[in-house]
Amino acid sequence: MTEIQLLDTAAAASALTAVPGSARGFLGVDPVTQNHALLVRELTRLGAQVFRTGDTLLGYLPNEVQPRQAYVASTSPDPEPLRGFLDFLGTYQRCTSFVALVPADSPPVVALRDCGFTQVGTLREHRYQSGAYQDVSVYFVRGEDTCRS
């Protein structure tokens, strides 16, 4: 597995801005319509952590009401970085299930499906982009139970 590097919030905002197209809807932020300061504020408000693996950015957001569940996001259709990231979260955050909210038909959907995610719902007209409301798909996967306690 390649190295996973945690970015601070300012670096994360810059990195998201550098890949604007594939990062739209990344943990709910939008680097096309939001500037650097707003991205930093949103990521801080959410309590999101952004990691880098190679050219891929990966996002982690804990579920406040279920400590074993995490929201994840990726900027790449390549499943390998995401697969490694899920292993990483399972090991170090003891996450046993993962949820991803992605705009329908966005590039990361391919990676999610390859990593075993299944679609568990669609949020109707959840985003406004390019002059129209768009659906957001909800994906879910159960990781291996790594809790040994």
Partner: protein
């Protein structure tokens, strides 16, 4: 029925024996032991729209997003005021769509808390996603749903 803005004298309405963060927080018959009552914070800025039905309930529009024109709806009803729920839901949806001019309202529903889904459907909501093990209650993970209402006009 009309909602009015939150005032500091309404603080007791903001906490009660329901599940935190629910679309429709009704008093639980048997609240989990050792769990503090749910509470929402008094608004500090304009990122939250908090209204109250005096003496009965609060209605909170949180995660307000003026670009996507959506908000997460959170309602908490005080014990003894359950008979206002039907009208309150419709008033809250109307407030979100007509007063705040939003396009979409959504919220979390935990089926394990015996939520009256018929009331939600009457108010225009429908179940859009079911997330397995999305919430931890009484020592076990339970499913959690996202219900949403979209304005079409």
């Amino acid at each position: 029925m009309t909602l009015r803005g939150y005032r500091s004298a309404d603080l007791p309405l903001l906490s009660g024996p329901w599940l935190a963060g629910e679309l429709l927080g009704l008093p639980l018959e048997q609240p989990p032991a050792m769990v503090a009552p749910a509470a929402v914070e008094a608004p500090k800025d304009n990122t939250v729209e908090l209204c109250v039905l005096p003496g009965a309930a609060f209605v909170c529009f949180t995660e307000l997003d003026w670009v996507h024109r959506r908000a997460r709806l959170e309602i908490g009803v005080q014990p003894g005021a359950e008979d206002v729920v039907t009208a309150l839901l419709k008033t809250a949806v109307s407030h979100g769509f007509r007063v705040l001019n939003l396009h979409r309202l959504y919220g979390w529903v935990t089926p394990a808390a015996a939520v009256p889904v018929a009331l939600l459907q009457d108010a225009g909501f429908s179940c859009e996603a079911t997330i397995p093990a999305g919430r931890w209650i009484a020592g076990r993970p339970v499913d959690r749903q996202i219900w949403g209402a979209v304005r079409h006009d």
